[in-house]
């Protein structure tokens, strides 16, 4: 079964230099805190998203290092002023090294 794609929403994709863009993201992840026990009483190991980054044309725009209290299916929202047109790349990395990526294009005139 195909992966459920993360959701990205930009309030504007075509902006003038100096404008602020608001980015909303939602990704699907169960997030194990590492504190739960399974039905046999064994500790379920921690498996959380520990890094979220957003890059514009390879340059870092936003970075977040969640800790174990992060919610499942986390929603990240931030604002930034894009300097140039190009590709916004969003990356979520979890403890197992599983990387989820999504891209959006943005035009700055």
């Amino acid at each position: 079964m195909a992966e459920i794609k993360p959701r990205i929403r930009l309030d504007k994709k075509d902006v003038k230099k100096g404008d602020t863009v608001e980015v909303k993201t939602l990704v699907s992840h169960d997030m194990e805190t590492g504190l739960r026990h399974d039905a046999d009483g064994k500790l379920v190991p921690r498996l959380i998203i520990n890094k979220f980054t957003c890059e514009l044309n390879g340059k870092l725009v936003f970075e977040c290092d969640p800790e174990s209290a992060v919610s499942a299916n986390p929603y990240f929202q931030f604002k930034f002023k894009p300097e140039e047109s190009g590709t916004l790349k969003f990356t979520w990395i979890d403890d197992a090294g599983t990387t989820t990526e999504a891209t959006e294009t943005i035009k700055v005139s």
Partner: protein, 284 residues
């Protein structure tokens, strides 16, 4: 003696009134404010309904929870809708069919289906809910293995199908052959269960709009199911939630998809006839 007591009494009443007035102004903008659930009711279809002002669980939750549901982007329940959409098109089983092979576009073929479940199944001679109908299609039409209750796939498909009825009024039929099941559901709803000796009605009919410890009681409607529960951070089907209710009163829960839960599902859906389907709703 009598006059002094009366004067003391009036002073006490005045003091309480003043304290309440100040208290309510201070709390007005706080997140701790009791949800304003009144005034959002759907009028019951007839006088037979025990609750005349039928109100969705949506109105018993905080504004933050409501905001999560109102925005399809923010609502994490939509991950299950997307998963269901993928499963809809996926061929499985010996017959080599997918749901789409017979039902084509779900948005057209499934519109209204979720709002009318559980429905009477003439061939089986019993009511059937959405999970059961999906598995009937899988095992008989697709010749594929039925999905286990509570599995991500079954919950996702149930959510996806019921989502096609979103906004439509719940409209279950309880007449004709459904009557004995309706009566059984009603009897169960008013039967006290468990060590805490509580019936569904004790909380949801008699005390909705009040706090049960830290829980703000709703009318216990099923119009939003399967529901994204913040507590579980996933979609929860109705029978699982009802198991939880019986567990909470320290009783032995009925098995999911049992006769008892089917009867209860039917009765509870009837109590909410007219409410808009909100699947996937967001609740505590």
């Amino acid at each position: 003696m009598g006059l002094r007591r009366v004067v003391c009494g009036m002073a006490l009443v005045a003091a309480i009134a003043a304290a309440t007035a100040v208290g309510s102004i201070a709390l007005a903008e706080s997140d701790l404010e009791r949800p304003h659930w009144q005034g959002h009711a759907v009028k019951a279809p007839s006088k037979d309904y025990p609750i005349q002002d039928i109100t969705s669980g949506f109105w018993f939750r905080t504004k933050d929870t409501q905001a999560l549901q109102e925005d399809d982007f923010n609502n994490p329940g939509f991950f299950a809708v997307e998963q269901g959409e993928q499963l809809w098109a996926k061929a499985e089983g010996k017959a080599g069919k997918s749901c789409a092979s017979c039902h084509q576009d779900a948005a057209a073929s499934m519109k209204g289906v979720g709002a009318a479940m559980p429905k009477w199944n003439q061939r089986l001679g019993r009511p059937v809910n959405l999970e059961q109908q999906i598995n009937i299609c899988r095992s008989e039409r697709m010749e594929a293995a039925p999905w286990k209750f509570g599995s991500a796939e079954l919950t996702a498909m149930t959510t996806y199908v019921r989502y096609q009825s979103r906004g439509m009024p719940v409209a279950v039929r309880v007449d004709g052959p459904m009557t004995p099941w309706f009566e059984k559901g009603k009897a169960l709803y008013y039967t006290r269960h468990g060590q805490l000796d509580l019936a569904c009605a004790n909380c949801h009919e008699n005390n909705h709009g009040k706090y049960l410890r830290a829980d703000f009681l709703s009318q216990g409607q099923s119009n939003g199911f399967p529901v994204y529960r913040l507590r579980d951070q996933r979609l929860v089907p109705l029978d699982e939630r009802m198991q939880g209710c019986i567990f909470d009163v320290r009783g032995l829960p009925y098995a999911p998809l049992s006769d008892e839960f089917l009867a209860l599902e039917l009765y509870v859906a009837w109590r909410g006839n007219g409410l808009p389907v909100e699947t996937p709703a967001v609740r505590n």
